[in-house]
């Protein structure tokens, strides 16, 4: 039983920021335990990322390439990770708290007879034991937790930990691992992808989010918000009310039954601030609320408030950013 392992999530060969954030946590844990970091990279034609993984903190990178791993599928990915973990006996196995990361964490826990702690927002080592603080009840409470067996499986919450600075001088070992995978054992098939529009900022990774609620009045009402988001290099978000009304697709929904976001800045426009919306905001540094109604609950969580018409304030804000040369475009 040794080593801190991390599954290095990739999509089309690209490693998302959250995977590097998890790498930073893995490195810190390994140093505290006097141990090494092994990164596992699965896919096809992904080996290029292995060098980067070493610069980011890995001591060993196990690269597994196979046509059956070309696109993410739960069963073959889990099969490989479980096999490697049985052979390598890590003390901890980390991944980003993404949809895929959480699926694999639960699958690995079941396969290896251990447990997974998801959405870790604090990770520490005490008496050789890995302690995790994670939100429960939609972030209304925190739980201090640990896993009583090995490996402890952890998924790391996005934007809760810094992304490490790459050190091109770091040395490490890249191992090509070959595995036997019987394609007929994995009968699911990826037919196609409907990807987010190019150039749009990913909500879960965004540093700034501009959110719109029923106050935008209709689908066209998002136009000034989109413009502000472009000027800020921000992602667009929305409430369930406007998604249910069909004004904007579900992928923009923030909240309990939508996405969870942790930007530095959230600008809420025409949003009342229902608890189910607020539960999607985790660790946001600054909330700005623009609302006609001075009694709107959103002002209770906002750092800055503007009582007024969003159709006047939002364009003025975009213009001010442009005037000062702060706009991204």
């Amino acid at each position: 039983m040794s080593g801190v392992w991390i599954w290095l999530e990739q999509s089309q060969g690209k490693i998302p920021s959250i995977a590097w954030e998890a790498m930073g946590v893995a490195r810190r844990l390994a140093d505290a335990l006097g141990d090494g970091v092994t990164a596992v990279l699965l896919g096809e034609g992904v080996a290029a990322a292995a060098e980067e993984a070493i610069a980011m903190g890995a001591d060993v990178v196990q690269v597994v390439e196979h046509p059956a791993l070309a696109d993410f599928r739960f069963e073959p990915y889990l099969s490989v990770l479980a096999r490697l973990a049985r052979a390598g006996q890590p003390q901890a196995f980390l991944m980003g708290s993404t949809a895929r990361g959480r699926e694999l964490a639960g699958g690995l826990a079941a396969e290896l007879g251990t447990a997974a702690l998801v959405d870790a927002m604090e990770v520490s080592v005490e008496d050789g034991r890995i302690l995790v603080v994670r939100p429960i009840y939609e972030g209304k409470l925190f739980a201090r937790t640990y896993v009583d067996r090995s490996p402890a499986i952890l998924t790391i919450r996005g934007r809760a930990f810094p992304k490490p600075e790459p050190d091109p001088g770091r040395r490490g070992e890249i191992q090509q691992v070959s595995v036997e995978l019987d394609p007929s054992a994995f009968p699911t098939e990826v037919l196609e992808w409907i990807r987010e529009a190019e150039g749009e900022v990913n909500l879960s990774e965004a540093r700034i989010v501009v959110g719109g609620g029923r106050g935008v009045g209709g689908p066209e009402g998002f136009a000034p918000l989109r413009e502000l988001a472009r000027a800020l290099g921000a992602a667009l978000g929305a409430t369930r009310a406007v998604v249910d009304a069909g004004w904007i697709p579900y992928k923009y929904q923030v909240g309990q039954t939508g996405k969870t976001i942790s930007p530095d800045l959230y600008i809420a426009c025409g949003i009342s601030g229902a608890i189910q919306h607020l539960s999607g905001l985790r660790g946001v540094k600054v909330i700005v609320a623009i609302n006609k109604d001075p009694e709107a609950p959103i002002f209770r969580v906002a750092r800055y408030g503007v009582v007024g018409d969003l159709f006047q304030i939002v364009p003025a804000l975009t213009a001010e950013l442009r005037r000062r040369g702060l706009a991204k475009e």
């Binding site: 999509s11 998302p16 993410f72 599928r73 739960f74 949809a99 959480r102 699926e103 694999l104 639960g106 699958g107 826990a109 079941a110 007879g113 447990a115 998801v118 429960i136 009840y137 972030g139 209304k140 409470l141 925190f142 739980a143 201090r144 937790t145 896993v147 009583d148 699911t188 098939e189 990826v190 037919l191 196609e192 992808w193 990807r195 987010e196 990913n202 800020l232 249910d244 579900y250 992928k251 929904q253 309990q256 039954t257 939508g258 800045l265 608890i275 539960s279 540094k285 600054v286 002002f299 209770r300 969580v301 750092r303 800055y304 408030g305 503007v306 003025a316 804000l317 001010e320 702060l326």
Partner: protein, 264 residues
């Protein structure tokens, strides 16, 4: 088709929660509800039944009071309900919960599809669906935003899974384990349904009924440990209301503040 839908009873998400010194969580007199994600799974299961025929069985593992959640699902239109309850189940973590649920699903015999919620709003883990899929040895289709098609003859399903960078369209053989995103508008219980639910005798299955030994379930079998639960440090945010003669002036002051906060 025989669809099994798995629900969990949770405190209402608007409830104010408190934790006492021993770590016990309470929600005052706020009502218990069906986990909102599970309502999407119930609704979708009922729609499949309406299209393809068959029946929907709803299961939950929980305390006796969780019968109320089952009754709500029956009132919405589920045909049968079973409560998995045994004092020995207490303290089960996600993997052990999945072991118990899998044993119950096997006991039900022929099942074409298991529908769950994406995650529970109390535990927030999203770990039971993948663990259950492994315990059953069936494909996992998690985070489903839409069912595109089902071919009952070929026993296949095509779904859209919502992942970070878009929708992944996946075809899978049945039986499979699905977890639901916000994919529909759950119906309200009907008058007839409420009457049926009120009269229904809900069977209780214990560990022995499921062929599980006491040491296979509950806290002792679980690897996750929760030594402490606490309320997050209160962040006192005092809202500063920005005022000005014109939107332009307000925008100017606001940008100054955001620059000072270093968030632009």
């Amino acid at each position: 088709m025989h669809i099994v839908v798995l629900i969990k009873q949770t405190p209402d998400t608007t409830a104010a929660l408190t934790v006492d010194a021993s770590g016990r969580i309470s929600w005052g007199d706020a009502p218990l509800i069906v986990n909102p994600w599970d309502e999407f799974a119930v609704e979708e299961s009922l729609r499949l039944k309406e299209r393809f025929g068959g029946k929907v069985t709803v299961l939950t593992m929980g305390p006796e009071s969780a019968k109320e959640a089952l009754k709500q699902a029956v009132a919405m239109g589920c045909d049968e309900a079973i409560l998995l309850h045994d004092p020995a189940f207490e303290g089960s973590d996600a993997v052990v919960t999945a072991t118990i649920l899998a044993a119950a699903i096997r006991k039900l015999g022929a099942v074409d599809l298991v529908f769950m919620g994406k995650e529970s709003v109390d535990g927030n883990s999203a770990q039971v669906p993948p663990a259950l899929a492994r315990r059953l040895g069936w494909p996992l289709l998690a985070y489903v935003g839409k069912i595109r098609e089902i071919d009952p003859a070929a026993r296949t399903i095509v779904v859209e899974r919502i992942l970070e960078e878009g929708r992944q369209v996946v075809r899978s053989p049945l039986p499979a384990v699905l977890s639901a995103m916000q994919m529909n508008e759950p119906r309200y219980p009907s008058f007839m349904g409420i009457r049926r639910a009120a009269r229904m005798q809900i069977p209780i299955w214990t560990a022995a009924d499921l062929g599980l030994a006491p040491e296979q379930v509950g806290a002792a079998a679980s690897a996750a440990r929760w030594p402490a639960v606490f309320a997050p440090p209160r962040q006192e945010v005092q809202c500063e209301f920005i005022q000005g003669e014109s939107p332009e002036e307000i925008a100017r002051i606001l940008v100054d503040r955001l620059l000072a906060e270093k968030v632009l």
